[in-house]
Symmetry: C2
C-alpha cells in the first residue's frame, strides 16, 4: 500500500513533514528569473524554466532530510501548459532523488471522468499499446463532494499502481466551516466525510495500520484535528496550515498516534521563501530552505519524541 | 458580465447546448490516430496531436450552430503536459471560431491558491511585466466545499476579465446524494450550496438577470433541478447528464425560465461519438457530430419553444 512507502520514508528521515512546492515567480530568486528571461524573453517558457530550476535547487537541498514534496497544481497551471511541463519535470527530479510526491490537485468528478484523472495523475495511459505514466505522483489530493462513485476509480488505481489519495475532510482556510462544520444528523459534515474515508480505505489497509485513503485535515483547527484522529484510526492525515496560515507545532501534534505515525505536516512558503524571511543572499535560497526544514522538523518532533514502525 | 456573452450566443444560435470535448483516444477515428502514431510514435505527443485534430474537426462542424464547448481537463491531463498543450490549442481554436469556452476543471482550494487557479484559467499572469493568458477559458467549473474564501478570488477575476464560474451544486452521478442530499437544518446540502451561489453572484448580475456565478445541476435529478431553478432565480445552470447518463429533454427543460433562458445542457459522448453510434464512415465524424447536435437542439427546443432576450 502506497502510504506505507510514505510512512517508511518518514521513519527513515524521522521527519513527518512535506515541502510544498508552490513556485510563484514572486518566490523565486531574481538571478534565476533574470537568466530565464534572458534566454526565453518574458514568456511562459521562461517562467517554467525558472520554476524548474528553483524546484531542483530545493529538492537537492531537502531530499535527504524531508521525505516528500507536494507540488500544488494551481501554481503550475498559472503558467500554462509550459508550467504544467515544469510540474512533470519537477516530479521526475524528485522521484530520481527518492522523494515521495504528493500531487496537490484536489481533483473531483463523476466516475468515468475521475478514472481519467486517476490514470493521468497516478496510473498509466495506453497509447497504441504503449503504457505511459502521464504524471508521476505517488498520491493525489481529491475532493469527495460527489460521493463514492467519484472516488471508486481512484481506489482501483491505488491498488493497481501502489498509490494513495488524500480526501479533503476539514480544510485549513478561514471559511472552511461554512459547509464543513454544518451538522447532519447531529454530526458535522467533516465527520461524515471522515467516515466515508474510513470506509473507502477499508480494503486498503497497509502494514502500519493506515490505508491508502488519507485525509486532508488543517492544522488551523486543532480541536477538530484531535477529534478526527480518534474517529479515523486507519486514515493517514496530510496536514496543511502550519506556519504562514497560523498552525503551530502543538496544533499539528494532534495528527499523530502514540508511535508518532498518522500524519505528515506541510510547509510551503515557510521552506520555499526561507531565504526571504532570513534576508540572506538569494543565492543561498536552498541552504536557507534546508535550515528551515530542519528547524520545522525539530519544532514538530519535540511533541512526538520518536517515530516507531 | 461574462455569462451574458454566453446567453447572447445561445440566443443567436437559438440553441442552449454545449458540446463537451472529452477526447479519450477510444473516441477518436482510427485514421487520425494512425497518422499521429506514424508521425510521433506511440507517445503522448501523438495522442495530443490526435486529440487536437479531432477537436478541430468537431469545432469546425459545430461552431455556427452550438454556442459553446466544454473541454474536460481530466481527458487532457490523462495525456500529460502534452495533452494539456492540446487543451490550450483547442481553446485557442474554439475562441478563433467565436465559441464560448467552459473549462471543466472543478477546481477548488484555499484563497491564495484559488487565486492562482483563477489567474491560470480565467485571467492573466504577469511574467516580468508582460501580461499573458495562460489558458483561454470564458468560464471555469469549481467546487465550493471550501466555502467563500475559496470562491472570492474567482469573483474578482470574473469582474476584472469578464468571465464566469459554475459551482457544483447537485451533480449528475449516481452517488451524488451521499453528501449532497443530506439535510442540514432541514434542507439538503445542495440547497445550501445553491444559496451560497446566489450570494456569491449578488454583485455580478448581468443584463438578463443572471449573474457570473453559475451552478452545475445534473439532468439526472429533474425534481431537484426544478426545485433549484425556483430557489436560484439569478443563477445560470450548466446541466450535465443528458443522453449517455440518462437525462432526457423533458428532464433538462426544468433548467429554463419562461424566456427559455437559465441553462445550458451539455452533451459529450453523444456528439463526439455520433459517428460510432451512427456506424457511418469514421471520416464522416464531424458531420455526424453536427447531425447529432442539431437533433439534440431540436429535442430540447421542443420543450422551450423560443429563446427570448
Amino acid at each position: 500500500m502506497s502510504l506505507d512507502r510514505l510512512i517508511e520514508k518518514i521513519n527513515e528521515t524521522q521527519n513527518p513533514t512535506v515541502a510544498g512546492l508552490d513556485p510563484k515567480l514572486d518566490f523565486i530568486p531574481e538571478y534565476i528569473k533574470t537568466n530565464a528571461f534572458k534566454e526565453h524573453g518574458n514568456t511562459l517558457e521562461a517562467a517554467a524554466q525558472a520554476i524548474l530550476e528553483f524546484n531542483k535547487g530545493l529538492i537537492d537541498a531537502l531530499h535527504d532530510i524531508v521525505p516528500a514534496v507536494k507540488p500544488q497544481c494551481a501554481y503550475y497551471e498559472m503558467y500554462g501548459y509550459q508550467g504544467v511541463k515544469a510540474l512533470y519535470e519537477t516530479m521526475e527530479y524528485a522521484k530520481q532523488k527518492g522523494m515521495f510526491v504528493i500531487t496537490d490537485g484536489k481533483r473531483n468528478d463523476i466516475g468515468t471522468t475521475m478514472e481519467a484523472y486517476a490514470i493521468g495523475h497516478l496510473g498509466e495511459v495506453q497509447v497504441n499499446g504503449e503504457n505511459i505514466a502521464p504524471f508521476l505522483g505517488d498520491a493525489l489530493t481529491v475532493n469527495g463532494y460527489l460521493g463514492t462513485d467519484g472516488i471508486a476509480p481512484l481506489i482501483k488505481t491505488c491498488q493497481k499502481y501502489d498509490k494513495g489519495i488524500f480526501v479533503l475532510v476539514k480544510t485549513s482556510n478561514p471559511s472552511s466551516g461554512e459547509l464543513q462544520d454544518k451538522l447532519i444528523e447531529g454530526k458535522p459534515v467533516y465527520h461524515h466525510m471522515g467516515e466515508m474515508c474510513e470506509n473507502w480505505g477499508k480494503e486498503l489497509t497497509g502494514e502500519y495500520g493506515y490505508s491508502s485513503v488519507g485525509a486532508v485535515v488543517g492544522a488551523t483547527y486543532p480541536a477538530q484535528l484531535q477529534e478526527l484522529r480518534r474517529q479515523m484510526p486507519h486514515t493517514f492525515f496530510l496536514v496543511p496550515g502550519y506556519g504562514a496560515q497560523g498552525g503551530g507545532s502543538k496544533d499539528v501534534s494532534y495528527a499523530f498516534d502514540e508511535n508518532g505515525l498518522g500524519g505528515i505536516v506541510n510547509s510551503s512558503r515557510g521552506i520555499m521563501c526561507a531565504y526571504q524571511a532570513e534576508k540572506c543572499d538569494e543565492k543561498d535560497f536552498a541552504d536557507a530552505a534546508r535550515r528551515e526544514a530542519l528547524r520545522m522538523k525539530k519544532d514538530i518532533m519535540q511533541h512526538i519524541g520518536e517515530i516507531k514502525l
